[in-house]
């Protein structure tokens, strides 16, 4: 019994060493700039070390949980949907996953609030708390809607085996065209919104879903067809946010 406890403990230590190695570059950069460039001591060294321990511990647990929980359930659901053969339900699921994970995303909430104050300053909307809140909420729903549609589009692509590059290039062309017509204030936010939508929990789930689907459908290659869902989820928000800026 003790042997297995020690074994588990050793494997935990080993993973933590791995996580610490992942964090080493940040530590090097921060220490180098603080001490060599600014010539100042590190503030709150004690708190810094505790924080570092927490980050290491957190990363270790996250990776454990990823391989135990998120990856298996994403793939098993993809297999189950493929076996069931119900495209309609798969699409409803894909949309809910995209929409549901985005609407509550903290990074998006922050960006939307900031975008509202930009719009208010540019006199696109009234400079009242109410107008800003409704603008920010509208923006959040727009982005969540676009991510939902993006995952649906990506899933349909996997089912049909469409080549991804043609779709992405078409998306790029649309982004460039809309950049010309969209109001100047919205462009920066639109371009950024592509990057903030995909959170730490969504990415592994969506990736597992794509790879699981591609590997359970005959004639699909998980490498060529399984990846690419995240790409749609970062491209479509740009288009939708610019459209939102043009309509409002």
């Amino acid at each position: 019994m003790w042997e297995s406890v020690i074994k588990a403990f050793l494997s935990l230590l080993k993973s933590m060493a791995g996580s610490l190695r992942d964090l080493a570059p940040i530590i090097v950069v921060v220490v180098f700039f603080q001490i060599i460039i600014f010539g100042q001591p590190l503030p709150n060294l004690g708190e810094l070390l505790i924080g570092l321990l927490f980050v290491t511990l957190g990363l270790t647990f996250f990776i454990y949980g990823l391989e135990m929980g998120l990856f298996p359930i994403g793939e098993s659901m993809a297999h189950a949907f493929a076996r069931k053969g119900s495209v309609a339900w798969l699409i409803v699921f894909a949309f809910s996953l995209g929409f549901g994970t985005t609407i509550a995303e903290p990074a998006l909430i922050a960006v939307a609030a900031e975008a509202a104050s930009v719009a208010a300053n540019a006199a696109v909307i009234e400079k009242t708390a109410e107008a800003q809140l409704s603008y920010a909420t509208g923006l959040r729903y727009t982005v969540a809607l676009s991510v939902g549609i993006a995952i649906v589009l990506g899933v349909i692509r996997i089912l049909k085996g469409w080549p991804i590059h043609l779709m992405i290039i078409a998306g790029y062309l649309l982004v460039v065209t809309m950049t010309v017509f969209a109001p100047k204030e919205i462009i920066g936010i639109a371009y950024d919104s592509g990057g903030v939508t995909t959170s730490t929990i969504t990415v592994p789930l969506v990736t597992a879903l794509g790879v699981g689907l591609a590997s359970s459908i005959k004639g699909r290659n998980p490498m060529i067809d399984g990846f690419g869902l995240i790409a749609f989820a970062s491209l479509l928000p740009m288009i939708f946010v610019m459209a939102y800026g043009m309509v409002i």
């Binding site: 992942d22 929980g69 903290p106 990057g195 989820a233 970062s234």
Partner: protein, 266 residues
């Protein structure tokens, strides 16, 4: 004690983020698929691990890295540091004066991306799916270099005040050209790598840098110029991952050509 309260609060908010996802997954599993989840116990333990992991990760970041990162962004963009103490700030700045900012942007972009959990997830999956042909470290370093160049260029854009869309459109042209000359296998993964780079670790640090710059560089408006760094950080990894695949393919081809040549000599 304050730490414990902080941990507890972060745990609750992480749980709140995970809850809708859990509801969607289990809802569809119960009502649509109508089959028991294989290894249900493990999946639930896995979810608990993810929530605990993210909690510690976020609290640790807020305790250790973010304050320091923000402090550095402030120090770096401070005119006293750039132009020397008591020097007057010119109306039109010379972009070259900000060289430490570009170096810091590169370094922090690279190092935060290496620690980005969602990139790890995708790298692990890519390794498993490709049967080890795409190494976890190869992909992570390629993406991290892309983010580093992207953020560095993004800070240059804020300093110079050039229009962002010229950079982005040029980037798109590069991506499209590279797509036609890259191995087919890598293309979807490369496109994906743009979206996975910017989450928990990178965004807050990079946002602080962008905002700090836009506030202190004369003639910039934080509301208009502070945005855009994330867009750069999502575009450049696509290029760097495609380039990584192109280089490895070229090297593999050369290797096999050398082998063939030496075989025919014998």
């Amino acid at each position: 004690m304050i730490m414990l309260v902080h941990l507890y609060e972060t745990f609750l908010s992480t749980l709140k983020d995970v809850l809708p996802i859990g509801l969607i997954l289990f809802g569809f599993q119960l009502f649509v698929i109508r089959r028991p989840i294989p290894n249900l116990k493990n999946v639930i333990i896995g979810f608990i691990y993810v929530v605990i992991g993210l909690t510690f990760f976020l609290v640790g970041l807020e305790k250790a890295l973010f304050p320091l990162g923000r402090l550095m962004a402030d120090q770096l963009t401070n005119p006293d540091f750039i132009f020397g103490k008591d020097a007057s700030i010119p109306d039109v700045v010379n972009w070259a004066d900000y060289y430490w900012v570009y170096i810091f942007a590169f370094a922090i972009g690279f190092s935060t991306t290496i620690a980005e959990p969602s990139l790890m997830a995708v790298a692990i999956k890519a390794r498993d799916v490709s049967g080890g042909a795409i190494g976890v470290w190869g992909l992570r370093i390629a993406v991290a270099l892309g983010v580093a160049v992207g953020i560095s260029l993004g800070t240059f854009r804020i300093v110079t005040g050039l229009s962002m869309h010229y950079f982005i459109i040029t980037g798109y042209v590069f991506v499209v050209l590279q797509t036609f000359y890259s191995p087919k296998m890598i293309i979807p993964l490369a496109y994906d790598s743009g979206g996975v780079t910017t989450s928990t670790v990178t965004v807050p640090l990079v946002a602080a840098l962008g905002l700090g710059l836009a506030e202190t560089v004369p003639g910039r408006n934080p509301l208009l110029d502070g945005f855009g760094l994330i867009a750069f950080a999502s575009l450049f990894p696509v290029m760097s991952v495609l380039a990584y695949a192109q280089v490895s393919e070229y090297l593999a081809k050369r290797q096999s050509r050398i082998k063939e040549a030496s075989n025919s000599d014998e």
